[in-house]
Symmetry: C2
Subunit: 393 residues, 2 copies
Amino acid sequence: MNLNYAKRMDGIKASEIRELLKLTQRPEVISFAGGLPAPELFPVEAVKDISTEVLDEQGTKALQYGPTEGYEPLREKIANRMNKFGVDVEAKNILVTSGSQQGLDFTGKIFLNKDDVVICESPSYLGALNAFKAYQPKFVEIPTDNDGMRMDELEKVLENTDNVKVIYVIPDFQNPSGRTWSIERRKKLVELANKYNLPIVEDNPYGELRFEGEMPPAIKHFDTEGRVIFLGTFSKTFCPGLRLGWTCADGDVLNKYILVKQGADLQASTISQMQVDKFLEKYDLDEHIEKIKEVYKKRRDLMLKTMKEEFPECVEFTHPEGGLFTWAILPEHINTRDLAKKALEKNVAFVPGGSFFPNGGNENTMRLNYSNMDEERIVIGVKRLAESIKEML
Amino acid sequence: MNLNYAKRMDGIKASEIRELLKLTQRPEVISFAGGLPAPELFPVEAVKDISTEVLDEQGTKALQYGPTEGYEPLREKIANRMNKFGVDVEAKNILVTSGSQQGLDFTGKIFLNKDDVVICESPSYLGALNAFKAYQPKFVEIPTDNDGMRMDELEKVLENTDNVKVIYVIPDFQNPSGRTWSIERRKKLVELANKYNLPIVEDNPYGELRFEGEMPPAIKHFDTEGRVIFLGTFSKTFCPGLRLGWTCADGDVLNKYILVKQGADLQASTISQMQVDKFLEKYDLDEHIEKIKEVYKKRRDLMLKTMKEEFPECVEFTHPEGGLFTWAILPEHINTRDLAKKALEKNVAFVPGGSFFPNGGNENTMRLNYSNMDEERIVIGVKRLAESIKEML
């Protein structure tokens, strides 16, 4: 039997990361592949406590349908937390979503006709590219450097490209590169978006996980016209298993996201929203984030140190000031998809970098995650990876 | 500022029900509008118990990312529960979704190009129509009677219509009509779908809430070629606040739903899935469903009895053997959108039936829910509604 699927399905493939993650379930595998938080840091006892309290206090409400926009007290608290990013908003600017991934899918649905252009960083987050692909856009990649997307290159593209509909960026500890945009670039991006009347989708799952240096204001901080759509999540600062994120936007733009949420799944889980709300009320999320940062910083330091010691000199890699990933560039003749197979024989996993370039190429790159493995496994894993690389030189 | 949205957004409007539900939040309103379960029946203590147990036993796993397909033990239990519907499947046939609503959105994404045809019952579930509208289809409504969709009419349409892509039906205690398909019609539908190589989407949120009579096998029971996609949910039998439903399908068809889930929101909540799994293990969901049915049956009986006593004779309505809704047809000159305004002045709410017809018309119909109000309020509400109707005669 061969059913007649929609044309868009031709472009939708399994995420290489999610498929790889299945292989890495085996306990002997040292995985630098996923973007998984360290589970030993999850506040399990606190979640038990707040679950009980929510059910004791408002059990029937927690188990009932709720509004599409989200649980009002949580929307308020999220709006307050946006201050950390230099963004001054109210509850009415917040839609609670099933992780920030859902905000990416909605972005595609709201803005993209077939063959419309999405502008993204080169490289960019694979999960976003896959979400957008369901709406059959074209991708134009803009070169990046250590200060983020190159604005001169962006300007050229905007001048010369029809049907640009969305600019998608991850300015803080970018996935996959680990790099952070300068303030100058952030301002310039808003200026260009204003000039060309484009929405900016600012994906910011990692910004609060800064180990060193000053946190720059979000791009949305510089938004004077309500065209920046900020996507946030509790997956990296609290836990991903509850699947809660948010879209922060203005007026009619947020209304579009709410409308689309209604058709997509009616609303985020009422009980999960009330749990996170209770956690924010009763516990100190920022204190919890401090603990996460302490552990991740050590892991980053150790991973970079071991890479420096063990990797051949021809391998370059980024120095992320926070977040979950570093990004390595190998000599051009090394295809990291082959390397990944070799490394998996030694029970080490990572994501080949090619997947992060929507238009292909760059097969000599790779993304390495340091948040999910303990220090011992980081050292062993990087050493084994170094061996595999040397075998391919 | 006017951003340039995708064309599909022109057709996406706020669900009349969700908007109406906001008005009905006021405690003085007697609402027959939503499809809300009775909150007093939610097993709050059991949920407290299982939450604690899940977090005690597997806390870090419950708060971590999990596979897109769903939590394996829950997939197995859902597959087993499909036996109730006469459907013999395994865990590999199940995708856990955020309510069955998400399966509707995915159906649109997977099958519908712009201007493709969705065949549906007349009337049909508003939330499904809204979900599909994001993919810009045309709707062809097939007349229905007390045995379900009329197969002679369907056959005529299939013979004469190009680009039919999906047949969408709610065969058990249909939303909004409350009617249930005969076994003959179920078999015939599969036969026609086989002949025209079409997928059938069988939406079944209410089937387990049968107050009287025999439960007919699901349409999927008669599926010989893997073309029936069955959408189920725990929202009506357990609680909607957890947002858990499932898609049951075969081979490549289910794979498409999994792929789309990946881009849409990665996965359903890990902890909620483990909670429901634990509930199914430790408690007796069927026993719980018996309690729900007992209460809803009384409410249905009372609503129908009061309607019979109080409504003018010119109003016809259905006698649902289960589920949440009855459906009333008023004299043609009464527009139920006007009636709804009048009734709301008396603090009574319902959903005007016109919204359930994708191609318009039938403004003299209305959907009445009996699951969410206690018996006293049902009697008062129906009496007030009868007064409003009489005022319009």
